[in-house]
């Protein structure tokens, strides 16, 4: 890993089997993604050696099932962070959407009506934050903090206590397992992967995606180029809010309840996962695929700690240390790129 960062450009390009390596060297923004992929493999290998039966279809499948909501949140967050913003409201909006759903479902409202309502709720929170950021010059941190307080508070106003969800259709999203041999996946995983594909397509193949990168690179340049900066900036928050609404659905199915304290601190977990996935907080650089890897790294660490039987104290410490390792590596890359 280190050898590659320090290898001179010529050596890397002249190496014989190095076409992929050249690709990485020519795209410095890929490096963190490759690094987190390597780290993920390393984690798997280490856990396999330590526990004997870690890399099994069952464990890998549950990795996706347990982290489906985090994958969805990370996708929306990636877009926001690439524009140079941040969205602290996602965890609270997720909980609030879950509360709305649990409330309505308990009163016998049809899920085909409830699910769109959850998405609209998320989108509205995103719209509020986006408008505050773009038209009232409020810093994203503060605007989304207000959104977070509002969502968390409203969730508690609506339902101070946990509401059980008994709707068979919603629960089957998480409980019905599609099995392929020892592998399995659930409706929630399908939703998460569809979101990954959609947001990745948006970023890589559409004008919106180009504009998102342009804003992150330099907002004033993007404006001078005539790109629709205002519209795009509002839109990324709406997308992130919608993702939070979808995550609310997935989490409700996963926890089979709505509760105002669901997902406290998830926003910072999401940011950490996105950063581990190689997206720069300064904006302008990052990939959805990287964020997916970031969530998986996060999830594998939690699983490893479960396997080891350690307590939550060690989970937090090791995630913190890992985050640190990543930002230091990132920092080294950025410093190298700016020297060039």
């Amino acid at each position: 890993m280190n050898a590659k960062t320090t290898a001179p450009l010529t050596a890397a390009t002249s190496a014989a089997p190095a076409s992929w390596r050249r690709a990485v060297v020519n795209h410095p923004s890929w490096f963190p993604v490759v690094a987190s992929a390597l780290l993920l493999i390393l984690l798997f290998a280490g856990a396999q050696v330590k526990f004997g039966s870690f890399v099994t279809p069952g464990v890998l499948s549950s990795l996706f099932v347990d982290n489906a909501y985090l994958i969805i949140l990370a996708c929306g967050m990636t877009l926001v962070i690439i524009t140079g913003g941040i969205d602290l409201s996602v965890g609270a909006v997720m909980a609030f959407s879950g509360i709305i759903a649990a409330n309505l479902l308990q009163n016998g409202v049809n899920p085909t009506l409830v699910i769109p309502l959850m998405l609209i709720n998320g989108a509205l929170f995103g719209l509020m934050i986006g408008v505050l950021v773009q038209y009232f010059n409020v810093q994203p941190f503060i605007a989304s903090l207000a959104g977070m307080f509002l969502a968390r508070g409203l969730a508690h106003v609506f339902a101070p206590r946990q509401i059980a969800v008994n709707n068979a259709a919603v629960l089957s999203l998480n409980n019905h397992k599609f099995r392929f041999g020892d592998w399995y996946f659930t409706g929630t995983v399908i939703i998460a992967l569809v979101i990954v594909l959609i947001t990745a397509w948006l970023l890589a193949r559409t004008r919106l995606g180009r504009t998102v990168y342009a804003i992150g690179g330099s907002e004033s340049s993007a404006k001078l180029m005539g790109l629709p900066v205002a519209r795009t900036k509002v839109l990324v928050y709406v997308i992130s809010g919608t993702c939070a609404g979808i995550a609310g659905l997935v989490f409700t199915a996963y926890a089979s309840s709505g509760y105002s304290l669901h997902g406290v601190g998830t926003e910072l977990d999401t940011i950490a996962a996105v950063v581990i996935g190689g997206t720069l907080l300064t904006g302008g650089s990052g990939y959805i695929f990287g964020s997916l890897l970031g969530v998986l790294v996060y999830g594998v660490i939690k699983t490893v700690i479960n396997f080891a039987g350690a307590d939550q104290a060690w989970t937090r410490i090791s995630v913190g240390v890992l985050l640190l390792a990543f930002v230091v590596v990132q920092r080294a890359i950025v410093a190298r790129a700016s020297r060039r």
Binding site: I86, L88, L132, Y135, F136, N137, V138, Q139, F141, I142, A143, L145, A146, G147, M148, F149, L150, R152, G153, L154, H156, V157, P160, S260, L268, I271, A272, V275, L281, T282, D311, Q312, A313, W314, T315, R316, I317, V319, G320, V321, L323, L324, V327, V328, R331, A335
Partner: protein, 354 residues
Amino acid sequence: MTSWLKNLMKKRIMWPVGALVVLILVNVLYRPSFLKITVLDGRFYGSLMDILRNSAPLMLVSLGMCLVIATRGIDLSVGSQMAISGAVALTIISHSPTPNSLATVLGAIGVGVLITLLFGIWNGFLVALLGIQPIIATLVLWLAGRGIALLITGGFITTINSAPYKTIAQGNVLGFPVEFLIGLAAIIVVVLLVRRTALGVLTEAIGINPAASRLAGVRSRGIIWSLYGLSGLLAGVAGILYSSNIMAADSNAAGNGIELDAILAVVLGGTSLAGGKFTLGGTVVGVFIIQTLASTVTFLGVPSANVSVFKAAVVIVVVVSQAPMVRNWFGRQFRSSKTASPTATPVAMERTAA
């Protein structure tokens, strides 16, 4: 509008002070006894005293946060640091054979605060020397800090019986709660440190333009470094206050979410998250706004978890009223009414003549 009033309106601090006054008026309306302070056994009692007392931990944390924000930074780890200092101090006291001796308590507090000072310096090292973005650099300790605190207490909530330690949160000196006096002392020390030395000006220089201040010979690294240290130190003291209040080290609950409240207090007070100019007075007002809001909502019988809705409302009103678009709109209203009046300013007359 008289000129002194106009000058007053121009001051940024007027917005938060206005918000605080409105909050207090609402309170007086609903409970006339709000402003009343009674003296019983040589001690002051009353809602205002409660607010002053309960605001102390947030005050300490926010003062440090304000200075860090002025350097274009942010410190998300303060809540975790509170948990650490409380865990360290209470673990020392609970293991000592003499929990009631003043020396033990002072020693325990000293070690607890020293450790958070070191963690603050660690944050400063990541930000100032490695150049990692503050939000991520301090997120590391936000994640790991509570884990460290849990390790120190062995995953349990350590409780103690120690009269001197209890005094910190529940004692009184000259009729005033000790907790409030600690907060007051912190304000005085930080204001003297920042405004009576060049530190404040240098901090603003770093926040306004890091490159230019470096070229002008400001040792920005050292200053940023020490301000994160100061933030850690103040968070450590806040953690001592918190644990003294409940006489227990609850590593999960101590200072949970206080980093966001502190950032809110700083921003409500009129300091921009973009760094540069900062106002400690505004931050103090911001802390009182948050604490008064919490007290009001509790008094109105609303469950305390719902406070965040009101917090969101206050934040949105205050930040929107400070937005350039809204200020320009108000400015236009003000100007148009002025040009219509017979006492038009020379500038306005020139404009109409042209």
